[in-house]
Symmetry: C2
Subunit: 341 residues, 2 copies
Amino acid sequence: MVTIKDVARAAGVSVATVSRVYNSSAPVRQDTRDRVRAVAEQLGYSPHGAARSLITSRTHTLGVLLPDLYGEFFSEVIRGVDGAAQRAGYHLLVSSLRGESHGLEAALRSMRGRVDGLIVMSPDLDAGAAGRSLPSGFPVVLLNGPPSDAAYASLVVANAEGAQAMVAHLAGLGHRRIALVGGAARNYDAEERRRGYRQGLGEAGLPWRPDYEVAGDFSEESGHAAALRLLSLPEPPTAIFAANDCMAIGALSACRDHGRKVPDDVAVAGFDDIPMARYVDPPLTSVHVDISALGARATERLLDALRAPANRDLRRETLPTTLVVRRSCGALTPTPMREIP
Amino acid sequence: MVTIKDVARAAGVSVATVSRVYNSSAPVRQDTRDRVRAVAEQLGYSPHGAARSLITSRTHTLGVLLPDLYGEFFSEVIRGVDGAAQRAGYHLLVSSLRGESHGLEAALRSMRGRVDGLIVMSPDLDAGAAGRSLPSGFPVVLLNGPPSDAAYASLVVANAEGAQAMVAHLAGLGHRRIALVGGAARNYDAEERRRGYRQGLGEAGLPWRPDYEVAGDFSEESGHAAALRLLSLPEPPTAIFAANDCMAIGALSACRDHGRKVPDDVAVAGFDDIPMARYVDPPLTSVHVDISALGARATERLLDALRAPANRDLRRETLPTTLVVRRSCGALTPTPMREIP
DNA sequence: CGAGCGCATGTAATCGTTTACATCCTGACA
DNA sequence: TGTCAGGATGTAAACGATTACATGCGCTCG
């Protein structure tokens, strides 16, 4: 491996000069600069990241900790983060937790000295304790986490507001029996969406019924099963609102299996508006969340914190959601028109 | 930041002893070992990665270079890689190329000294030149790349064989007018799948027709547009085979828009078998590729190369694909409950 | 013409580890 | 009792960069 010394020797200068050429940290005469560059090029030199970060204590790397790497949601988050990081010349150290509870602490530890800051997505409600394993004052941005006492910058999507808007929309279409397929247990997003659902019912003057709130775990299978249970009730709902799109898609196939037409017999709606949502049949009404923007915004806040460690911005920022109405809720009917009052 | 020195001082030992406790590189008496561990724990010490890798010249990090981070395909690859890497105690430095052609070289350079090895996914046909920017003998595993003269370990999926099997299946169902929606231009996977398609036609004794081969770019939009074009032909195909699932899903919605029933009027099939494939309506017949296994296998080969740099295994390995028949091709008629998962 | 300034460059300390080598100590054995 | 083996520990030199400080040189200006 060719080092800065090799380049210095070959170019007939000192290592300091080579370093200065690469960092523009001090003026270097044009001709020496050219000579160094040429020699470096020819030798195939590029500075050694570890050595660099040892002395500068900057790694130019951001850590990204995700609960899992499954599905479009996470690939979108990473995409957003990667874009913003790349623009700023930062690398990404990605890791998933895969359910290990002590994993968060272990992962945080093993990243020490490897990253300048962290983006942590921990929707798990009791993950707050994890913060202790990183030095206080370490730049961190929390994604979709519960409001914690710990003083971290955090970013959440407007879960409750989105869910509430969806219920209002369904109620506005005349639905009076609106059911919820809930998200994973002990998941902050899931709880907030449920809260929004209940609040929406209240504002529409609809009663909350325990049998209309069934549990899911964000997977298609669970959405399928939950919808089947709802449709088999003595008084089945006329609208099914799933806490994410995967479950909504599961619900759609459950409706088919159960012989119910969507949206004629029953309306279905989801949450997240993943790219696939518009391609299922019927296209899925959902609450749009700009996931990659979420990742990008988190990255920007982290980079801000790195640039100006002094004035730390620890606010909790909420990303708005928007209602996307497609055919699955019956608001827009296909060519054979069928009005809903 | 607490360093090894602080721990050594607080525990009343030398830095060497602390280091030995952490690396088990030499025997340390049980009681000193315990004392060091306790002190370290209490001080919140964990070894500094950069310093460590500077002296050992091992980073315990793998670089993953992907053309883009969009869609389920890439999230699955990363998931597979992450799983295998985590099991071996390795970190992941992920980066996308986002289309910059010189990006590959730049990315490779900027990863020097930060990773022990690389997994590079470069389906671009003329990316072969990139190899020059990394020191020869550097451990690399190529994913889904064209067979290159460069001596790299590589991994591909059985694109041509899968496509051929799909065409054979469709022909076996009686289809004689089978069209292809091709993948992105200058993409190796796309070319191989096209080759398999043509070969399949030949073996089934069907003529190759230029108007039945329309270009796409792997996106839903392009699949939608391509299918519309096919359906508007004077003699439209009875089966549409898209070079990936996203385009197939686009084709499904195009068929709906065009008033053609799938699979009664036209059969549709895809490639990749992404998780969503079984949830669209009708469920999509596809060529199954175990994408996360692809990532995991690539990682294992890379780790092998790291463990035994001497006997380098530079073979080109092909991952088999399997045909997954669902309703969209008409092989399984209505009875909706009876799908192949 | 000499003082002094500032540009270009070199020298060497430093970052936090690992590890070869040196040292010390304890106990077994002749 | 002296020797020696070998386990436990310490000392200090790397690793490859950055950077404060020192140095040398050509100018300008009083």
